[in-house]
């Protein structure tokens, strides 16, 4: 049992949608006679509902007087609600707009999430997004760190000088500034390199040739001379190795696609005009 599917309560959402659509229809539809939309009926079912709500709070049924009060309260709410709608007060209310838009979104989401993908669909999805599922390339490297803070403007000059020495075989452990940064990492994914050295460094490292000392490669900490010792290429995923994740992502993509499609039909349905941004171009 998938927790989420139970929780998203599609029935409830459909019910809400039904009431909403019905309500809209009743308001704007071709009402049979003038005045129909001005009618308010507090049905027996509704009164029963009021009773049971009361009972839940007070652990007993309301007295007749209390029941009259509940109905009156309900009626007053309905009157005010109708009047507010008629005056268009719902239209400039951010909370109501957001809530209603959300409700429709839930319904669209739910309709999209219902179906299970076929193997063909998953294979096609994998093919389209193969980079996302491949195991990351792993690198082994060592580095000599030159602190920007310690060396100041001499940083680049120092780096060039030390690089020449390293390239002619000098021992890397006899160069560099004190730091808690590791002097080497072994068989580490680029994302784990990024977590230690930052993105600027890991991005540059991905482009470095294997074998010789190169640099300087920059990071938020300073400059680094690096020697890439080994680079294992990424490994493509298969339907078997990535099925669970593929299925999840396929559903998510499907949900997004359904939503986009729905938005598109709505855009076609309305005549949309967006005025030029205020102050843009006289």
């Amino acid at each position: 049992m998938k927790l989420q599917s139970t929780l998203s309560n599609p029935l409830l959402q459909f019910f809400v949608a039904g009431v909403m659509i019905f309500g809209l229809y009743a308001l704007h539809g071709q009402s049979s006679e003038q005045g129909e939309q001005d009618r308010i009926v507090i049905t027996q079912a509704e009164q029963k509902n009021l009773d049971s709500l009361f009972e839940k709070t007070w652990q007993r049924l309301p007295t007749d007087e209390e029941r009259r009060g509940l109905v009156e309260e309900r009626l007053q709410q309905e009157l005010l609600y109708r009047e507010a709608l008629a005056l268009g007060l719902d239209r400039d209310d951010v909370v109501i707009r957001r809530r209603l838009a959300q409700k429709i979104e839930f319904i669209v989401d739910d309709m999209a999430a219902g179906r299970s993908p076929t193997d063909e669909e998953l294979t096609a999805f994998l093919k389209q997004n193969h980079e996302r599922y491949a195991t990351e390339p792993k690198v082994s490297f060592r580095q000599v760190f030159l602190s920007a803070e310690r060396r100041g403007p001499a940083l680049i000059e120092d780096a060039t000088r030390i690089l020449t020495e390293l390239q002619s075989g000098a021992d890397p452990l006899s160069f560099g500034d004190p730091s808690v940064l590791p002097q080497s990492m072994r068989a580490s994914s680029l994302s784990s390199v990024e977590r230690v050295f930052g993105k600027e460094f890991s991005t540059a490292l991905a482009e470095v040739p294997t074998g010789s000392w190169v640099g300087p490669v920059h990071s938020t900490f300073g400059a680094h001379l690096v020697q890439l010792l080994e680079k294992q290429t990424e490994q493509a995923a298969t339907l078997e190795t990535a099925r669970a994740q593929l299925e999840r992502d396929w559903r998510e993509a499907e949900r997004q696609r359904a939503k986009d499609a729905y938005i598109k039909t709505l855009k076609d349905k309305y005549l949309i005009a967006i005025e030029p941004a205020p102050g843009a171009g006289e």
Binding site: Q4, L7, E105, E149, P178, S179, S184, S189, R195, T220
Partner: protein
């Protein structure tokens, strides 16, 4: 022989003793040649290999942990009854996916992703009533049969999940949870929930890349006083599934002594290993770190020994406040007033009084521990420090600019900055949502990213707490560190070579020598510069009086302590309105050697590191900017994030 000491420290368990050695050797051999070595390795060969100078190998520095692993040891999902009631929809699998770097949708439907993956995660759902909530939500027959179960169900369905959650928590903490509704640890539903939790961890455990630990939270909360502990398994599902988590309700207990008995029984039954991490002493109203009696029983030798054995770490910072130090207890510590929650106990049913504080905060507990050690021969409060989130959202999202709250209603929205978290009308205890902290994470110096390696590092306390950023922090203690060690290229090599790392112990003071410390900290690669590195010392004098002092050891920028030894403030570059700052003050890296100027070899002491960042925008500033909302009067908008290392203890002889 130093080298073997390091290995010895690493190899807390028997298994690691061989593996640790082999992996060190393997690093010095060409790729592919390590297979089969373990069986043919003789002591002689090992000895010879260890003596080889480490200069040749490019991986020589890997014989000790070279980078910390960051994670969260305390995350709740919808499986926790309160989290579920608050609206959490994410389950343990979602939680592991998110922590390992995937983008997912939060319970409120917002796409969310971490700036960088975490290295490990413990899903620690509340053990009591585990599995109750999914059934409550699904409206299962047994739940609806109970009038209160039905009421809660209707509340949740009616969009009143928030009120339901609060009722559930209050009922639980005031011992009024309906008996018929309770999922005892012997019920099938409870076992299923535990098995699901285990299966999720097994599925997402990727040694070398991401460690999914099996764990749970034991939630002792009698009278609303927080004595919670997280229990973390070193083991895989085959062992963890032989037991069900210990609960507070029968057949469990609210007394930590009984949790320790459960832990011992687990280890005996399965041959596995577990450790416990307590948290939120600040909400215990004076009972987290007792010094005289606990649960009506005088502390004794057995209590202190058992506690020291099982409670290796303490969660010092999290969303519900930071509990390192309190200004009332440490009036001379200008940084003690930090993200405090000191108004009452967990549910606000009893307000706080100053006399409780001493038994709630980490620093004072570390001090009391020295006294208890003198009395009973063992220090029950010789714990290491970590931080974690305690988020109830399934999301370990604790970055100030990417904070997804403590509970689902606190996920990003224009309203959260003005909402109320706890309000108790009787006691007047009121905590606003803005007081919730975007904190923290646990940093662990382990050799590799695996359950065994990270757990072992926790067990030996080679850990530190951070309030969110991932700064790299080293802390070594020894007798022989000298000024020039701070100028060595690889401080860690010197640190391990001449001393012990955080969590360690110094004994046998050489004649005329004082403890020396090699400290180093590097800023988070995407974070703020560092303001300063401080060492906090606590000690007990000859009369049994306890003392503490905070020393500034290293700092960024052109500053010098004044005549009273006070280092001027680093200043601030924060632009609150734009939620921005710049790294033009402070320093990216701090390294120094410090010698205790007031050492007395007859007095027991502890030392720990505190690293403080320059001021940055607090999550409230990002909210105010992004949602264009006005924070309530008094809302803190900036923060100096920090890290706390596990202490190093000095123990006089005799």
């Amino acid at each position: 022989m130093r080298f073997f000491q390091i290995l010895g420290a690493i190899a807390v368990s028997g298994i690691a003793a061989t593996n640790g050695l082999v992996s060190v050797l393997a690093q010095q051999l060409p790729e592919g040649s390590s297979v089969g070595i373990s069986s043919s390795l003789s002591e002689e060969q090992a000895e010879r290999a260890q003596k080889r100078p480490p200069v040749y190998s490019p991986y020589a520095d890997r014989s000790f942990p070279t980078r910390p692993f960051f994670g969260d040891t305390h995350l709740h999902t919808a499986y926790s009854m309160d989290a579920g009631a608050f609206g959490a929809r994410l389950d343990p699998r979602d939680a592991y996916r998110f922590a390992s770097g995937e983008q997912i949708n939060s319970s409120t439907g917002q796409p969310v992703k971490l700036s960088r993956p975490l290295d490990f995660l413990v899903v620690a759902d509340h053990s009591d009533n585990m599995g109750f909530f999914p059934d409550l939500f699904a409206g299962k027959a047994n739940v609806l049969a109970d009038p209160i179960g039905k009421k809660w169900y209707e509340m949740i369905k009616g969009g009143k999940g928030n009120d339901a959650a609060i009722e559930i928590i209050i009922a639980f903490s005031q011992n009024k949870f309906p008996k018929d509704l309770f999922y005892s640890s012997t019920s099938l539903a409870y076992k299923n929930a535990w098995q699901e939790t285990i299966d999720a961890a097994e599925e997402y455990y990727k040694p070398g890349t991401f460690t999914a630990f099996i764990g749970y939270e034991w939630t002792s909360n009698t009278g609303g006083n927080n004595l919670h502990r997280n229990v973390i398994f070193r083991d895989n599902g085959d062992r963890a599934s032989q037991v069900v988590p210990f609960t507070v309700y029968p057949p469990g207990s609210d007394n930590p002594v009984h949790l320790w008995e459960w832990m011992a029984a687990y280890e005996q039954k399965t041959g596995g290993n577990v450790l416990a991490i307590a948290h939120n002493g600040n909400l215990s109203n004076g009972i987290m770190f007792p010094v005289e009696e606990a649960f009506g029983k005088k502390l004794d030798k057995e209590y202190v020994e058992t506690r020291a054995k099982w409670e290796r770490l303490y969660e010092t910072t999290q969303t519900k406040g930071t509990g390192e130090a309190h200004p009332f207890l440490s009036p001379n510590d200008e940084f003690a007033d930090f993200e405090l929650w000191d108004k009452g106990n967990l549910d606000g049913s009893v307000a706080k009084t100053n006399d409780m504080l001493e038994f709630e905060y980490a620093r004072s507990a570390l001090k009391s521990g020295l006294k208890l050690e003198k009395q009973f021969g063992t220090n029950p409060y010789a714990f290491g420090l970590i931080g974690s989130s305690d988020a109830h959202t399934g999301l370990a999202a604790m970055e100030e600019d990417n904070f997804f709250g403590k509970t689902t209603p606190q996920e990003p929205s224009p309203e959260r900055i003005t909402a109320t978290f706890v309000a108790n009308q009787q006691t007047g205890v009121k905590v606003m949502d803005w007081e919730v902290g975007a904190s923290g994470y646990a940093a662990v110096w382990a050799e590799e990213n695996s359950r065994a390696s990270i757990w072992d590092a926790m067990q030996r306390k080679e850990t530190y707490a951070t309030t969110g950023p991932r700064m790299m922090v080293r802390f070594f203690g020894g007798w022989d560190f000298v000024e020039s060690d701070a100028g060595e290229r690889l401080p860690a090599a010197v640190g391990y070579g001449k001393g012990v790392p955080m969590g360690g112990e110094l004994a046998q003071a050489p004649e005329g020598k004082s403890p020396t410390f090699l400290v180093a900290a590097l800023k988070d690669p995407i974070g703020a510069n560092l303001d300063r590195y401080q060492i906090v010392k606590g000690w007990m004098d000859a009369n049994g009086e306890l003392h503490e002092k905070v020393y500034d050891v290293a700092w960024g920028g052109d500053r010098a302590p004044d005549a009273n030894g006070k280092l001027p403030s680093v200043g601030s570059t924060v632009d609150v309105e734009n939620a921005s700052w710049s790294n033009t003050i402070g320093a990216p890296e701090l390294i120094a050697v410090w010698k205790d100027p007031d050492f007395d070899p007859a007095q027991s002491a502890f030392y720990y590191g505190r690293v403080i960042e320059i001021p940055t925008p607090r999550w409230t500033a990002y909210d105010a900017k992004r949602f264009g909302v006005k924070p309530p009067e008094g809302t803190r908008m900036t923060i100096q994030e920090r890290a706390y290392t596990s202490p190093i203890w000095y123990k006089p002889e005799g």
